[in-house]
Subunit: 253 residues, 2 copies
């Protein structure tokens, strides 16, 4: 499994992903699920992926092959361009959706023959100069939805354990450091309750209108800040819980 | 959906269920998911159910019909007995499993024809005089597992949102009032993140060796203790979160 989170704030974007993949408990591996396409000052785009690793890697390969094409070929394709040349974030989401559909056309039937579903989902976010900052979720059908001020965070993978703290804390006015902190608490809760989500945790921030990766950090299990945060949070939750009034069980049934 | 929780402690059992059922968002209803079979001082058995309401109601009907049979017929069946006469909790779990299989034999093929899976799960717990207190999860196949000192709580339905607080707080030595409190915090987190789980919340406690329902309470949305607990917990979580050190986003990428 996987846990990826994107938060869209007035101040910018926070994108987070874990690094564990598993195909059964005896086949657990570490893969980075965060990919970045960046021309600092002009555009910064981040893609997070969940689902079947063969599918998500194939989708990313399609997107990267396009970027790497020689100029002549690229010109012929310039209607949409690539993630490094497309004119806006909606087209970027379409490019990801198109790549998902290419992989579907190649692999879905064979996967079905072997009893596997075509499972993949993506969070795509970023900003291209002159346009707004945007956050999308791209489905395995290649279609997508966008975050809004009412629903300003999107999750893929193992989403439920870490959702309550986001529901309580995050809104569009949340400052970036607090949103990063909330993302780390959210993934901590997920890791405690589900073995299939694991360190290191990649976090990236794109500040509004900077059109570049403003900040990026990989939190290992041994990271002092991350370790301290997890301990403080665990102790704090227990303290608060201990302070809540107990129900009175002596008052009959 | 549904959220049901059973906690097995040295001091006794805590059983909790919500009351919302839905078949699509325009067909939301309220059904109690907690059933009790009790002969105070001799036995107390609680069954919680999740899944397809037609299936879980049919299972309960089978179990109750057995209890209601005239004595002569009952005698003929006394090998296993009923939930009010069976000699131990393992047999009680088998009785529930047998009832599930009867409903499967009657309905599963028809459900499949209509594209529906046979989805149902149960938490069964209690104590019969002379035997130990036990907590089981009965699957839709009619087989079951039992809680242990390592895994002393079991959940069915919408289980993930409310699991982190249980993972942090509950162990076999937890006192009963604290476990009831934890169950209420757990269902609060679930209700905040998932509309398909809703009030009223039924909670029952069986103290070890009392072999009766020691305490039972239905928490409505407007219950003062429950409302206060939810507010205290929400405020406390936000306070603790606010006290955590923010990450330093000025330290480059």
């Amino acid at each position: 499994m996987t846990y990826c989170l994107g938060i869209s704030l007035d101040a910018g974007l926070v994108m987070m992903s874990d690094s564990r993949t598993n195909a059964g408990v005896d086949h657990v591996a570490q893969f980075q699920k965060m990919r970045v396409w960046e021309q600092p000052g002009e555009r910064a785009i981040i893609l997070l992926s969940a689902g079947n690793l063969a599918i998500t890697q194939a989708v990313v390969s399609h997107l990267e092959d396009k970027v790497r094409l020689p100029k002549a070929e690229a010109a012929a394709r310039k209607k949409q361009g690539t993630l490094l040349t497309c004119p806006g974030m909606t087209v970027a989401a379409q490019l990801v959706g198109d790549a998902v559909r290419k992989v579907y056309d190649r692999d879905a039937e064979r996967l079905k023959q072997q009893g596997s579903d075509f499972v993949a989902s993506f969070l795509l976010a970023g900003q291209i100069k002159g346009g707004p900052m945007r956050l999308f979720m791209v489905y395995s059908a290649g279609n997508f939805i966008e975050a809004s001020s009412d629903t300003n965070f999107l999750q893929i993978g193992e989403t439920k354990y870490g959702k309550p703290i986001l529901d309580r804390v995050v809104n569009p006015l949340t400052p970036l450091p607090e949103a990063v902190k909330c993302a780390l608490v959210s993934v901590d809760s997920t890791m405690r309750s589900n073995l299939s989500v694991g360190c290191p945790i990649d976090v990236a921030v794109i500040r509004t209108d900077e059109c570049r990766i403003s900040w990026r950090r990989r939190y290992a299990e041994t990271d002092p800040y991350w370790g301290n945060l997890r301990r403080q949070w665990g102790d704090g939750v227990k303290t608060i819980f201990g302070q809540l009034d107990d129900p009175d069980l002596s008052d009959g049934k």
